[in-house]
Structure formats: C-alpha cells, structure tokens
Symmetry: C2
Subunit: 213 residues, 2 copies
C-alpha cells in the first residue's frame, strides 16, 4: 500500500489523542465533535480533521467521532496490537526505573530481558526481569528476535550498543542517552526522550503565574 | 495584564519550536516562512501563526520569522530568563539520573539541592549536589525559597511530599511518580512526564515500517 509520509508531529499527537480518548471514556463520553475535541486539546478543529484524515475516515459530518471506535483505531495505528518485544540495555538509574515503573504490558509491550555490563547488577532481578551480562546480548538477541531496545547506557557507549542491537535485527531504539546516535544499519527508528520539553512547559506556567500576580 | 488562557498544547509546542529554531540556527538559517516551518514541523502554517499569535506579533507577511529573534522571544516566554531554582526530592533511580544528566544550567535552571529519606544516600553527592535528609527539607525550603521541585519519590509518598513542598512555597512540581497528585495548595503547577507518548510514537513507526515492507 502506497501512502504519503505523515509528519512526525502528527504521529506525536496520536498518543495525546489516545490519552484524551481514554479520559473521555472514563468520563462516559461516547462521542465528540472535532470542535469540542479541539477545544479540550488546544488544537483547531481543522488540525484535528487533518491529523486524523491521514489515517482514514473516522468522523462523520454533523455527528463527530465515536470515542470507543476512534480509540480502538488509534491504538491499532500506534502499534498496540503488535505486542512488540522490548529489551532494556543498561540497568543504571534510568533503565532500572523504566523496568520497575513503566508497566510495558499495560501498553501491550512485552518486556523480555535486560542487560548490563556491571558484575554487581548481572544476575539481580528487577520485578521479574533478571539482568543478563551485556556480553551475552548479541547472542541472546539472535535467538530471541526483538523489536525494541531501550537504550539507557552511558553516552559513551550509546553508539556501540545501538549499532550492536541494530545488527541483531532490533528495529526500534528508545534512546535515553541524551546523545544523538549514528547508526550504520538502515531501517531502524530512533525515538529520543526530550525531558527538556516537559521542564520548559512547567517553566512557562511558572513564568505566566508570576506575571499574572 | 489581562490575557486569554492559552491552551496547554500550544505551550507544549513552544519548546518544540525552540528546538527547531536551535536546529535552524545551527544550520545557519536566519529566517523562515511559516509555511516552511510548518512543513519541517508537521504543522499547518495557520496553526503556527495561530500558536505564535497567542504571544504577540512575531512574523512579517511575506518575510517570515527571524530565527534568532523568535528564538529569543520564545526562550523568554518559556521562562528561561527567570533562572528558576530547582530541588530534586527522591534520589532514587530517576532522581539520580536527572541530577546527573539533565544539565539544568544549560536551560538556565539553578539546581540547588536534593533530598532523600535513605540513610545510605544522605551525605552522598551526585555531581556537586550533596543529598540531604528529607526530614530537613521543609526547614531548608523555608530558608531557601525554591521555584520547582522535581518529584521522584515512590508513588506512595507522592502526595505527602508534593503537599509539603507546596506548603513551603514551591510553585512548580515536575512529577515523575506516575501518579496523579492531589494538592491542597492552590496556584501550584504540576507537570507530569508521559513516557508512554514517546514509546507509542516509536511503536507507530515500527508498525508502519512492518506494514510498508
């Protein structure tokens, strides 16, 4: 199927739509117009119609969107029916926290393994995941085809580890290393976590709050 | 000054604009039209004009936006000239990682202290921050007025700590506890980190990649 390239920002808004639809579901809302959805999300109705039209026909003129149906379609578009397998590479602070708190299974991801170089960490468990030796990672990945690697190693190891997992067939890298990764393998998606966007949003509200006083 | 309420999603896009403008600056781009900026960011030109018009007059018909000027204005709007002070409460995995890797000063935030309940952590240092006893936190905050608290304590302590810092005058809470906070103090902004949005974006690309094969 040929399709146009959909911009990254449209994709990023999909999970925001998903959260909003979950919230509407919790509130018992069964359908919503693009104008009301736009109002609640700070987007113009035309932006919403344009975003969603990238993926098919969802709404109905004069009727709006069915919340449950749109939620289901978005979850599918976002890959939540794929049951992607995930490994965590680097069980330092961030890696440990993600295993412990991320609740991958609630989003339909299958966390299967974790790796670290530290002898102190190898063999220990975080929830039901036992940390394996990073030296065994590539052998393990060859036997256990894996979709996503969470990259939570130090900056200095980022490129080496990213290239290693990519060569073992990993197709998605969730990058917490705060550095840009240069991959030698094509067809691998890298998603970088931008903590600063969130901090600056908070900072905006504080600044406005100060000036409004 | 009276102003209209600006939607949260507009605010969230500001830091994306900022990153884009930094990238354009690095590439030596001095001005850009709303249509080109829209193309690069996956937004319609009218969305961009609408977003920015919330804050004043930036662009010029037929000329576009001056990159350096717009960057400066956005940084100001985002509070980067306020030099907000920040404390980290909870030096577990996430807290430790943020102190070590977040580079608050590069965004013009002033990281001043960190607190934890664990006797093993109290007195240890992360970079130049010495972890203090959480029992001393409220006394310390009363003497050192603080703008932002990074909340990286366990879920079970989230509400108690959030209310404690709010009562000491903290006006912004950056919430990494994966739980909704109920505050008894008014006028405090809470910013929640949504890791799942980022993971689902990656998941989307993987799914599309699979289906395009």
């Amino acid at each position: 199927m040929k399709r146009e390239r959909i911009s990254d920002n449209v994709i990023r808004r999909l999970s925001m739509y998903l959260r909003k639809l979950d919230e509407l579901t919790d509130r018992g809302v069964e359908r919503i117009s693009s104008s009301e959805l736009g109002k609640q999300m700070g987007l113009t109705p035309s932006q919403i119609r344009q975003d969603l039209s990238c993926f098919g026909e969802f709404g109905q003129q004069g009727f709006g969107y069915k919340v449950a149906e749109l939620r289901k379609q978005l979850a599918k578009i976002l890959g939540m029916e794929e049951n992607f397998s995930v490994v965590v590479v680097g069980v330092g602070n961030i890696g440990h926290a993600l295993i412990q708190n991320m609740n991958f299974s609630s989003l339909h991801f299958d966390l299967t393994a974790a790796f670290d170089v530290s002898q102190e960490k190898i063999g220990t468990s975080v929830l039901d995941i036992t940390v394996m030796d990073s030296n065994e990672m590539t052998d393990w990945l060859k036997v256990h085809p894996t979709d996503i690697a969470v990259l939570s190693v130090p900056k200095s190891a980022a490129n080496e580890v990213a290239n290693a997992v990519a060569q073992c067939g990993v197709k998605g890298i969730w990058n917490f290393t705060n550095t840009d990764i240069e991959l030698k393998t094509d067809g691998v998606f890298i998603e970088n976590i931008h903590f600063s966007d969130s901090l600056l949003t908070l900072s905006y509200y504080l600044t406005r709050g100060k000036n409004d006083v």
